[in-house]
């Protein structure tokens, strides 16, 4: 176990190293010039050159990267070009909001997706199943900004049940979390359905029935833990997809998370902030996957981590 964890952490570090390099190169070859953004249109060539030297952007790419990397391992993510603040401070201020949104989104998609999937599997082949699968298809296909605006219009503007935007109370969280989770819930309902249908066909389910257990007990105790195993690995991967969703959802609802931060940084070619957000996201994805792999053996005794 300790060996496994050690190797996985080394692996994770290597992945993050790769991500940092690729992102850095991509931002370097980008035709947009960050210095122009900082200096403004009216700046003289001399001013531009000064800023470039100040920021070290006149150095060869690999030298710049090395500087960034050595800073990063010491916990220094650089300073925002535009806000003149430490990137780590910026992210730290906004990360809790994003994590909260993400947790809400995951809770939403699992709650909706797994429930619908189980119901569809139990009623497989019947109209309820077919209806649910149509719903899940719509959920998968609907773009998040459309879903977000629709929910805003119905539940915030018309019904007034939830605030239109902002951050602070549990009521603020509901609509963004549902928006973020709805696409995933479509995915999960389909996966859960097929996984559950497969499990319900297994011999041990027949054994459970032959023992005279109730339907509910068979479903919850015997089918569910087996059906959920392949889903857990998916949740780890899902965090990556969520990072994309967060940018959209935070914009729609004015949620003060790192998605908005990233969006602003991209518009203004604020390279240290873009790098910072990318690294934090990548770390979240890597950790999410590691966590999913660590949870699996708790449910499935056949899996041993070595």
């Amino acid at each position: 176990m300790a060996g496994y964890l050690f190797r996985r952490l080394v692996q994770s570090a290597l992945i993050l190293l790769g991500v940092s390099f690729i992102t850095f190169v991509l931002l370097y070859v980008l035709p947009a010039d960050p210095v122009r953004q900082i200096a403004g249109r009216s700046a003289t060539a001399q001013t531009v050159e000064n800023i470039r030297q100040q920021l070290g952007l006149d150095q060869p790419m690999l030298v710049q990267y090395w500087r960034y990397l050595t800073g990063l391992v010491q916990g220094d993510m650089g300073r925002s070009y535009l806000q003149k603040t430490e990137v780590s401070t910026l992210i730290a201020a906004r990360l809790p909001a994003s994590l909260l949104l993400m947790a809400g989104g995951i809770a939403c998609e699992l709650l909706i997706g797994l429930t619908l999937g189980v119901v569809a599997a139990v009623f497989r082949g019947r109209p309820l199943d077919q209806g649910l699968m149509v719903v899940s298809f719509v959920a998968v296909s609907a773009p998040q900004f459309v879903v977000g605006l629709l929910l805003l219009y119905v539940f915030a503007v018309q019904l007034g049940w939830f605030p239109i935007g902002g951050y602070g109370t549990a009521a603020h969280l509901v609509l963004p979390a549902v928006t973020l989770g709805i696409m995933g819930s479509g995915w999960y309902s389909r996966m859960m359905r097929s996984s559950m249908v497969e499990v319900l066909r297994q011999d041990y389910i027949r054994t459970a029935r032959a023992k005279g257990l109730t339907r509910a007990r068979i479903l919850i105790r015997h089918a569910l833990p087996n059906a959920i195993l392949p889903i857990i690995a998916m949740i780890g991967i899902d965090i990556g997809i969520f990072m994309g969703g967060i940018v959209v959802v935070e914009s729609v609802f004015g949620w003060p998370g790192i998605g908005q931060l990233a969006w602003q940084a991209i518009q203004r070619v604020d390279i240290p902030v873009i790098m910072g957000v990318t690294m934090v996201s990548a770390a979240a994805i890597v950790l999410g996957n590691l966590l999913a792999d660590l949870i699996t053996p708790l449910i499935d005794p056949r899996i041993k981590l070595r």
Partner: protein, 593 residues
């Protein structure tokens, strides 16, 4: 439990425990109702064992599921009664039937490996069954479960309770299933092919155990099986079924001594019997200077586990120092129980797993071959597997499947390949018109013939038959075996015949090797092994084979106290190699320590 009549009631004296009358079970498929079981009637007394025997599609399993109320959604009992102690089971509402299942009537299934839930401990699955029916505390249920495990002679029941199914062998798992089924002392136990998936020595133990428990508890047993040997050894009475109908019903001795129906006679005649092989003696192919295949001290190891740095910590010694050769035109048998390494040897011969030591095919060593050399070897060695449905691509016509090896090796034009495939179809007893069909349109026996045709397409020197007839019904099995023998006489092809079924092996092989834990413990001609088995393990194997003759009652086999040892060793150490000694005429026997 309220069960009072534990003593064995003499047949006919009282009302039977179970009385099935004109039972009809039908499937509803796109509006069409088709009977799967029609007009089945039989009686069963307490303490009695009734075998329902038949080939696949006979409706024997559907009958048992109908009694348990476990039929699939689109299948239902459409007529007739099944009275258990006077209550008509199919008429019971589900809520009440659920309370009967597992308590009044219980069932064990064919596949012990998959019949227990992998994510729950043995203990939780057992106590759950008890507490579903009895209002007892967790501690009392636990005590009852341990007692039930002890009754099925599972060593260290306390420890087993905490284990998960994957930590137990197949035989142990089936014992757990039996313990679970009998924990509440049901009046009726339905055993659906309970030993089919088990090794023959384990089968023997499980059947002995069922009989002993029946004597103790007076439970009536319905034994569903395709194996007439098992029927002869375990049943009091037999119902023979075919295509959903009862063909014949008789006490077991009468049925075997004087079968009344043609079908029963055919079924009994097709059963491979130990001792029958000697009658079909054919001259042994001479030890040719150039064997088709030769293994010298072959070893196959698989590394498992991982230490802190991810390096393997243990090694499975699947095959350990095996040497034999296969002569041109002979059938060489490999027998042994699951995990003994016989299939791994087949894979090594076909170049599918890396090996150490020397393995040669047609004089060419397999080690260090180029990609081209490996492809050429494939032309000399072909395989026929156990499950023909899994071995044929469902989206490829069977004609394409048979011609494909020619295509891969770039032999002939498209027309020539088709012609060759057509010729092969006729040779294996099918028609060229069937070549455009898909695998699902054929029966199991026909599919296996197609696999044989495909194996023949490259005119190989050796065909490896890995349990090739094990999944087939006995009548079909006999036909496929005859086909293999004819093909050998015509083409002189050699067979490596791998099987767990000693009776089949005795009928087809010229020479054989008995494997145990990756090593050969005895090797010789068929006569040497079957008439004069020397090694203790060979004798155990032969003794365990059920004999399809109820007149020959055998005493229960002494229970094996321990499981087969593991072939897994820490890296750096390895099992001791057995030494083979010639006891005369090339009959090699391992020295027993």
């Amino acid at each position: 439990m309220s069960q009072s009549q534990t003593a064995t009631a003499p047949s006919g004296a009282t009302a039977p425990l179970l009385s099935v009358r004109d039972l009809t079970v039908s499937v509803r498929d796109r509006g069409v109702v088709r009977p799967l079981v029609a007009g089945l009637s039989f009686d069963l007394n307490a303490g009695e064992t009734l075998a329902i025997a038949g080939e696949s599609g006979s409706g024997k399993s559907i009958t048992s599921l109908a009694l348990m109320g476990l039929l699939p959604n689109n299948v239902s009992v459409t007529a007739g009664q099944a009275l258990l102690e006077g209550t008509d089971l199919p008429q019971l509402p589900e809520a009440q039937m659920r309370r009967w299942r597992g308590a009044r009537l219980a069932m064990i299934f064919q596949e012990p490996m998959t019949s227990l839930n992998p994510v729950h401990t043995i203990g939780s699955q057992m106590t759950e069954a008890i507490r579903a029916h009895e209002p007892v505390t967790a501690a009392a249920a636990r005590a009852a479960a341990i007692e039930a495990l002890r009754k099925v002679r599972i060593p260290e029941p306390d420890r087993r309770m905490k284990q998960y199914p994957h930590e137990l062998s197949g035989g142990m798992r089936q014992r757990v299933m039996i313990a679970m089924a009998l924990a509440l002392r049901p009046a009726l136990l339905i055993a659906d092919e309970p030993t089919t998936a088990l090794d023959v020595t384990v089968q023997r133990e499980v059947l002995d155990l069922l009989r002993a428990l029946q004597a103790e508890t007076g439970t009536a047993i319905i034994l569903i099986t395709h194996d007439m040997g098992v029927v002869a050894e375990s049943a009091d009475r037999v119902v023979v079924m075919r295509q959903g109908r009862m063909i014949e019903s008789a006490p077991v001795r009468d049925l075997f001594a004087a079968p009344q129906q043609d079908y029963t006679r055919k079924l009994l005649a097709a059963v491979p019997r130990l001792g029958a092989g000697a009658e079909r003696a054919k001259p042994l192919p001479p030890a040719a200077p150039a064997p088709v295949a030769r293994l010298v001290d072959a070893r196959v190891h698989f590394d498992i586990g991982a230490n802190f740095l991810g390096r393997p910590t243990h090694r499975v010694h699947a095959v350990e120092g095996v040497s034999f050769d296969i002569r041109p035109g002979e059938t060489f048998g490999l027998v042994g129980e699951s995990g003994c390494g016989k299939s791994t040897i087949a894979k090594a011969l076909a170049g599918l797993v890396p090996h150490r030591g020397h393995v040669e095919v047609d004089g060419k060593a397999l080690a260090g071959l180029t990609a081209q050399g490996k492809r050429d070897i494939c032309r000399d060695i072909q395989m026929v597997f156990q499950d023909p449905m899994a071995a044929l691509d469902p989206r490829m016509t069977v004609g394409e499947a048979v011609a494909e090896p020619l295509l891969i090796h770039g032999i002939g034009t498209a027309a020539e390949r088709r012609a060759r495939a057509a010729e092969l179809f006729e040779r294996v007893g099918l028609t060229p018109q069937q070549m455009t069909r898909y695998p699902h349109e054929f029966s199991g026996g026909q599919r296996q013939r197609i696999c044989v045709a495909r194996a023949l397409s490259l005119k190989p020197k050796l065909i490896i038959c890995d349990e090739s007839v094990s999944a087939l019904d006995v009548s079909v099995q006999a036909q496929v075996l005859d086909l293999l023998e004819e093909l050998q006489q015509e083409t002189g092809v050699s067979f490596l015949f791998i099987s767990h079924d000693m009776a089949v092996v005795e009928n087809v092989v010229d020479r054989l090797a008995v494997m145990y834990l990756g090593q050969i413990v005895e090797m010789g001609t068929r006569d040497q092994i079957f008439t004069n088995p020397q090694h203790g393990y060979t004798r155990r194997l032969l003794d365990a084979v059920p004999i399809p003759d109820p007149a020959r009652q055998r005493p229960p086999q002494p229970q094996r106290s321990t499981e087969i040892p593991s072939p897994i060793w820490p890296i750096g150490s390895s099992p001791e190699s057995v030494r083979l000694r010639d006891v005369g005429g090339g009959h090699l026997v391992a020295e027993e320590g």
